[in-house]
Amino acid sequence: MIRSVISSTGCYLPDNIITNADLTQFSEEARDLVRVKTGILSRRVAPENKCTSDLAVEAARHCLEKISFSPENVEAVILSTSSPDRMQPATATRVQYLLGTGNAFAFDINSVCSGSTFGIALADSLIRSGSVTNVLLIAAEMYSKILNQKDYSTYPYFGDGAGAILFKSGSDGAGVLHSRLKTDGSKHDTIRVPGGGSMLPFEKMTSPKLAYFKMKGEEVFSFATDKAPEIIKQTALQAGIDLHDIRCFICHQANINILNSIADTLAISREHFFVNLHKYGNTASSSVLIALDEAIAEGVIVKGDLIMTVAFGGGLSWGANLIRL
């Protein structure tokens, strides 16, 4: 059976580190609360003259160069982003050009923070269909450019970054074993950028602030702590796997209290949930791929291990992928 095997991973985080203490637009009282509310201690912010595709290219280069895989041999580039360079064309097209993957077709997907899991499922589908033998999946986000710096409900919690996976077709048992994706469109207003699209064009906006990212924090917390354990159990069940056989859960890095709640609900040790959100904040759809690359680099997970990637985000949407490394 053909499966999509993780051949290499990569990530890129901008050099500029912003700690909670640096957020001087908020009171000291409020700055201290960021750590308590989310576990975030710092986040990375990209330079003014960079855009999302620049981060994507760096992560992808890191991924390909690690195994000396020639860009010309990449057959497909899928970019997950909810903070694109522009409304159009797809940000993946500039990535394809800058990366030198001229033989690949390239397009974007947007499932906000759950984009990584949707991207993994999509990449896997392409490979299993036989259309391609490899897919470069990248997730890149630059929320610093779409957040209101004075909005305490969003700005402190997000960071910029990108991650990448090179999938290749294989048949030795390793690879993506099962994916499960879900959407609840009735909650489409919970996480949003209200203005700048066809629903609310720029000239109709009553305030420029309607072009900033917004979310209903309490609703998101309830949604994530409810749906994430559910999809983890369903994915494992459908694949015939016991949850305790999974070496590591690579979850979307939004809030440590969400991760702890998921672990406790499933009665799985928190040690099996990889955490790096304290360093980078919520990097939206790139968080899972960044965490995956770090977990591999740190030796937390190795070849042969069973892992599960899990994400939840705007839409509302949520997904999980069971993967044998």
Binding site: F26, S27, A30, K150, D151, S153, P194, S207, K209
Partner: protein, 85 residues
């Protein structure tokens, strides 16, 4: 409406652009602002600091606090600063 209240009303509209049709009056309680919570309180705290030069504790910005309460705090703080300068 005093100048302080007028400015505060503009600030509420600016800080909470999705306030919609909620009538903004001196008697309006902060809890009437859509999605008012501890995070919204920080946003208002930030606005007050930047636009009126006052530091309010988050405890003061609770559901029952009215715009009139905040305006009074602003005017008292300004009067105190003037006496001390």
């Amino acid at each position: 409406m005093s100048k302080t209240l007028e400015k505060l009303k503009s600030g509420i509209l600016e800080t909470f652009p999705e306030i919609g049709d909620v009538p903004i009056s001196p008697e309006m309680q902060l809890g009437e602002i859509p999605e008012w919570d501890s995070i919204a309180a920080v946003n208002l705290q930030t606005y007050l600091r930047e636009n009126f030069g006052i530091d309010v504790q988050l405890d003061f910005l609770n559901n029952e606090t009215t715009l009139a309460d905040i305006a009074e705090f602003i005017e008292k703080s300004a009067a105190l600063k003037q006496r001390l300068s």
